[in-house]
Point group: C2
DNA sequence: CGTCGGTCTTGACGGTGTAAAGATCCCGGT
DNA sequence: ACCGGGATCTTTACACCGTCAAGACCGACG
């Protein structure tokens, strides 16, 4: 079960399909990545993917899990920086937005409710979501205490900040906003 | 060119297709509304739509224009209410979000960059967009002056508020957020 | 009354997702 | 050593989709 392709049996088809699908996703929107094209790029027949992922949704969901990992990793890098809590919050937001700007289709996939249903996420994805929520709440809490405010509004402010950051990211990813408009908006938000 | 369907010539096919498409959009995501199903529901052959809309994208774009009209109308109703500028801002946001919650597929269509490109919007849509931006800026400006602040941050704060409201709407429409989480978040935002 | 142009239908093509059946190969038990 | 079972991959087939080309139909205008 190694990497050698012995002709008939591929050896590592699952990974190859995931990579081909991810590559395709960088070029086209999730709705446009087709099972058959992914199989074509992986050099196998169009029905081969069915053994590893139940159907098209399964493949896209698995790709979405990988994208979610990248997405979280970028946010953690940004939030790991030292500095003023307000700057950290802005950095987290800019990381969120920059992912959506640079990989709009991956971003769209991660939040596609049909492909990646937020209810009962995959076992691989659930911890990433939890970690992301913790990261957000932690940054907001640090910002609150740095401003001498209590934590009674933590939840409301966390979802508000998530909303703001997610909205800016979506608008940039959809081409409604220029990327240069994001930083001023974020700075205005954290006062 | 009236409403009678004389058997062969429909008489008002364009409107009928728009209505059938809009109805289908209430049930399914934009990616899943098919030209053929719309034609089926309108009682015509599968190629009939091509005379009125160039292709599938044309039909979806026209439906999207209508949805944008509904969307703007709802925001204007909300912002027309009297009261504290902060409350007006919250009301505008809740109208924005409630549209996304009640008609998630219409909301998704309006902001779909492939179907409804934000660059060179249709002549029917452009004034709606402009009106919407004015409405937002006006509400934010009133809120700013009510709080005794100058208007130097108007643009940044307008896009920040747009982002927040759009993000909350998207997250609710995608099922990531419960609708009951929105109002507290909005109130926390306007302080 | 004829014919002309717009409206709608029919039929075809290539692409898609999916299911069923067949081919091929690896692996474990004898 | 071998051979049989099960996993992997291919082939074939079907229904649906968007799109195009050709034809049928009808209203309107000469």
């Amino acid at each position: 079960m190694s990497r050698s392709s012995t002709g008939y049996h591929h050896g590592d088809l699952r990974r190859a399909l995931l990579e081909a699908g991810a590559a395709l996703l960088e070029e086209q929107a999730p709705a446009r990545v087709s099972l058959r094209e992914v199989a074509r790029r992986a050099g196998v027949s169009h029905a081969a993917p069915y053994h590893h992922f139940g159907d098209r949704g399964g493949l896209l969901k698995a790709i979405g899990d990988a994208c979610m990992g990248d997405f979280l990793a970028r946010q953690e890098d940004a939030a790991a920086a030292e500095g003023d809590p307000a700057d950290r919050l802005v950095a987290l937001g800019e990381a969120y937005v920059s992912f959506a700007a640079e990989r709009p289709h991956a971003f769209a996939l991660v939040f596609d409710p049909e492909l990646c249903p937020p209810q009962d996420p995959s076992p691989e994805r659930a911890p990433l979501i939890a970690r992301n929520e913790d990261l957000l709440a932690e940054c907001v809490a640090a910002w609150l205490t740095a401003r001498g405010r209590g934590l009674e509004d933590l939840e409301a402010l966390s979802t508000a900040f998530w909303g703001a950051v997610h909205g800016l990211a979506a608008l940039v990813g959809e081409g409604q906003l220029g990327r240069e408009q994001v930083a001023p908006a974020l700075r205005a938000l954290v006062r």
